[in-house]
Symmetry: C2
Subunit: 231 residues, 2 copies
DNA sequence: TCCGCAATCTGGTCTAACCAGAATATGGTG
DNA sequence: CACCATATTCTGGTTAGACCAGATTGCGGA
């Protein structure tokens, strides 16, 4: 039951089955039979889900959905696995991500090394190529933003942001299907790069604020409205 | 091999053994024998460690220390388990935590509900009692800060901050052994509460900045200096 | 209707295998 | 002595079957 092949489907099944049964998941033996694997495999997967606080295992009773909200580890896993997240989680994640990005721009302006600048230049150059060929920016956008976080020289900060990028990865592909948006994003990236290079923390963060305003709002607009977070 | 009893010791053993062997951990069979449990138990534990990217399992070869830096999930687990973190991680975590707390104060000033205010008042009142009896603030400090994050009404934000608090929990107990610090912290808490109640975002965040300056610097000063982060 | 006991179910744990590729030891050759 | 091919051992991956004891459930009697 390696994560890369069965865990996502396994998790999806456990969750949907549990939700359809008042929060109680099928027994280990049932799950093993359903996926044609041994109980040992099932237990390994359940151990992981339990460690992420997605489920709760009660001895001699059963497997239950964890009551509290999922932590970031679970969110990142869900995103990576292509499992659905609640709208509330998306909204909140976008907000938190915004906070991080803006602060990262400020810090990066002060701490970025020549290596970071070189990496940013390389990403911008590759973006130009893509645009010249009429293609989308796609993952290069993420690379750009991630490099800025890397430029803060704070590994913990980087690992948090990486998790958030995983949450947004698939949704971003839709955004960058529009050529207009690609061009605009790229231009803004270049402006931000210039501000960072000039070590202008205030400008860097201000540019990031407006850069994110456009993309992020579109991002949350894609969500089907529900009662999660009316404000 | 429930997390609460064996996983910490198990992890500690795996890591130290691996570090003493060029990054390669003992075999599953050896680990099973060492802890007097079955291979199944060992594999469950290893699955969790692998999911947190602490280790890497290579089929038919062995178990190796993961090369990259640990994510926040691993950090929180290490902290909870009482396992040592690298100084670099502590430094970085403190910096990131600072960023979150300051932003949280700003957001909380705008979004805190009456329920949040009531909780804060309750914490302050209990702090007074503790101080009156000559006891330390201890966990009440954490409760206060966490309630502010909760007041942002952002669950994702909260789960991140919770993870960071776990990292600092033990170290904070030392800090609050000094009566003087307890009094000072409490007074600052009260000031912050007043600012929040007045919905003054700028003041709240400013007060938080100075509040954290004292505590946090002490916090990192406790670390034995090493080459991790000379700046 | 309600209570109590018995059968059943469930997670937790262990033993004993087999597989096939990786890692290593062996031995013979140039 | 150096080197390479082969045989042996080791390792993670996976399965099957079994036992335990508490939680759950269902049935039958009061």
């Amino acid at each position: 039951m390696q994560e890369h092949e069965l865990l996502p489907a396994f998790t999806a099944h456990v969750l949907s089955a549990a939700r359809a049964n008042n929060g109680k998941a099928p027994s280990e033996r049932d799950l093993a039979e359903h996926f044609s694997v041994s109980r040992g495999q099932v237990r390994e997967a359940l151990a992981i889900l339990e460690s992420m606080q997605v489920i709760e295992r009660r001895a001699k009773s059963g497997i239950y959905l964890a009551d509290g909200h999922n932590g970031i580890a679970a969110m990142a896993f869900f995103a990576r696995a292509g499992l659905p997240l609640e709208n509330r989680q998306i909204y909140e994640a976008v907000e938190v991500r915004k906070i991080h990005e803006i602060k990262a721009a400020e810090m990066a302006a002060e701490r970025a090394t020549e290596k970071n600048f070189a990496a940013l230049r390389d990403i911008l150059a590759r973006s130009e190529d893509r645009l010249a060929q009429g293609e989308g920016i796609d993952s290069l956008d993420q690379e750009f933003h991630l490099e800025i976080v890397r430029a803060t020289q704070n590994g913990v900060f980087l690992s948090i942001c990486t998790a958030f990028y995983e949450v947004g990865a698939t949704r971003l592909q839709v955004y960058f299907r529009d050529p207009e948006r690609n061009r605009k994003s790229h231009d803004e990236h270049r402006q931000i790069y210039e501000a960072l290079l000039a070590r202008d923390a205030a400008l860097s963060s201000a540019l990031m604020v407006s850069h994110l305003r456009g993309a992020m709002s579109y991002w949350t607009e894609l969500l089907e409205p529900d009662a999660d977070r009316p404000a």
